[in-house]
């Protein structure tokens, strides 16, 4: 059976823990299906178009396919960020809103239907948002390779040019700090709830058996305490931005600076998606877990047992 650990080569930080039976039988089959759909509707057609176009120019059998794959990667590097921002993310946000507004129906069959519907939406988003990683990682790797070729100074650190970018994780940090330092208690309660609604679904790994951030009140309390009376994260971020500016001002190049800054901006715009993607990929997980836990409660199955059951067993 396909397990999450088989995808560890993509990112060893993820898929570390044993996969629950429920994840394996509920979301993974749909994720696998969505990977197939994405391959058939986007990856293979693009490779085929580029390969066949080159085939008209070069008759040697293998080269058109190799060049086709290469052009496909370049094409995706160029367009994925825009596709993510203009098409994928707005669509995914609509799905998130839809799932978050789902009622918990009294009828268990309707609840099962809601879980399956939200899992389909989650799988759709996970696969496509994950695919955008090709651009967010690809641009950094490309920049890591190109920078030594265009820098005059050999004492360069390319990663110092990829800091100081706003992203969802830093926004999460800033909002947490604002809650921690709010002195008006009634306002604080509202801000805390809003923080949980916006950022509480952050996950540690891809598995519905793992509790989301908002389900770890002790950790949140400690983090709120740590944030109290500390420097605002946005002020720290300004320092990072200054470090980026000073690195940018000191680079010595063999290409004109306007070309370089265009390249840096393109890399930064793609790299910033990395943390953004992670935030949006699993933002439905909390609501899905709430629905699954409710189903377990109705069937008198304890949380410790719930995720060791297959979806078919749970649905019975």
């Amino acid at each position: 059976m396909l397990e999450l650990r088989h995808f560890r080569f993509l990112n060893p930080e993820w898929f570390r823990k044993p996969q629950s039976k429920l994840e394996a039988t509920l979301r993974i089959p749909l994720v696998t299906k969505e990977i197939g759909i994405l391959a058939l509707t986007r990856v293979f057609p693009l490779i085929a178009i580029f390969s066949l176009t080159i085939r008209f120019l070069i008759t040697f059998p293998i080269i058109p396919i190799v060049l086709g794959v290469f052009l496909y990667i370049l094409f995706e590097l160029w367009v994925l960020e825009r596709w993510y921002k203009n098409n994928l993310l707005p669509y995914h946000i609509k799905n998130i809103d839809f799932v978050n507004k789902m009622e918990i129906p009294v009828d268990s069959n309707a609840l099962i239907g809601n879980i399956e519907k939200s899992i389909r939406m989650s799988a759709y988003g996970i696969v496509r948002i994950g695919y955008v990683g090709l651009a967010s990682w690809g641009w950094e790797m490309l920049f890591k390779f190109i920078y030594p070729l265009i820098a005059r100074d050999k004492e360069y650190i390319y990663s110092d040019l990829l800091i100081g970018m706003p992203n969802k994780v830093l926004e999460f940090n800033q909002t947490l700090w604002e809650v921690a330092n709010e002195t008006d208690n009634s306002k604080k309660v509202m801000m805390y709830q809003s923080f949980l609604d916006k950022f509480g679904s952050v996950v540690d790994d891809m598995d519905l058996s793992f509790r989301t951030f908002r389900e770890k009140p002790n950790a949140i309390k400690i983090l709120l305490d740590l944030n109290k009376d500390t420097i605002e994260p946005d002020i720290d971020h300004q320092k990072t931005l200054n470090r980026y500016q000073s690195t940018l001002n000191s680079v010595k190049l063999i290409i004109p600076f306007p070309f370089f800054i265009n390249l840096v901006n393109k890399v930064r715009a793609n790299v910033v998606l990395r943390e953004d993607r992670r935030f949006y990929e699993f933002v439905m997980d909390y609501k899905i877990r709430v629905m699954i836990l409710e189903l377990g409660k109705r069937k008198n199955i304890a949380e410790s047992e719930l995720f060791n059951k297959s979806w078919e067993e749970l649905k019975k």
Binding site: E13, N173, R274
Partner: protein, 112 residues
């Protein structure tokens, strides 16, 4: 060798540049944050977005898993703290409260 303390070195990858010496705290799960204090060196298996608020208060990070493009590396560069990533065994070799030096530039951790 009387009186000479042996210094153990753990090699990993450079995640974020810098050199820091401090007290290590091995935290395997974000729910066990109670023992963490501001300025501690965070030793963990790997980090995810859930860990970002704690990284802000660490003076350095050491992880078992990850490379130069890992979450721990990216976030520590953002916060300007040293990070050594992909050590494979830091969480097993380093004990809570031990004094360690994290050399993020060389990708080396020394247990003092």
């Amino acid at each position: 060798m009387g009186g000479t303390k042996e210094m153990k070195q753990i090699k990993g990858l450079s995640g974020s540049r810098g050199l820091v010496t401090g007290k290590a705290k091995v935290i395997l799960d974000i729910e066990n944050l109670k023992k963490f204090e501001k300025g501690d060196i965070l030793i963990t298996v790997s980090t995810s977005p859930q860990w970002t608020p704690i990284i802000r208060f660490a003076s350095a990070i050491v992880t078992d898993i990850g490379g130069s493009l890992s979450h721990a590396a990216i976030i520590s560069r953002e916060f300007g703290i040293p990070a050594v990533v992909g050590t494979q065994e830091a969480t097993k070799l380093i004990k809570d409260g031990q004094k360690v030096t994290v050399n993020g530039t060389a990708g080396v951790v020394e247990i003092l």
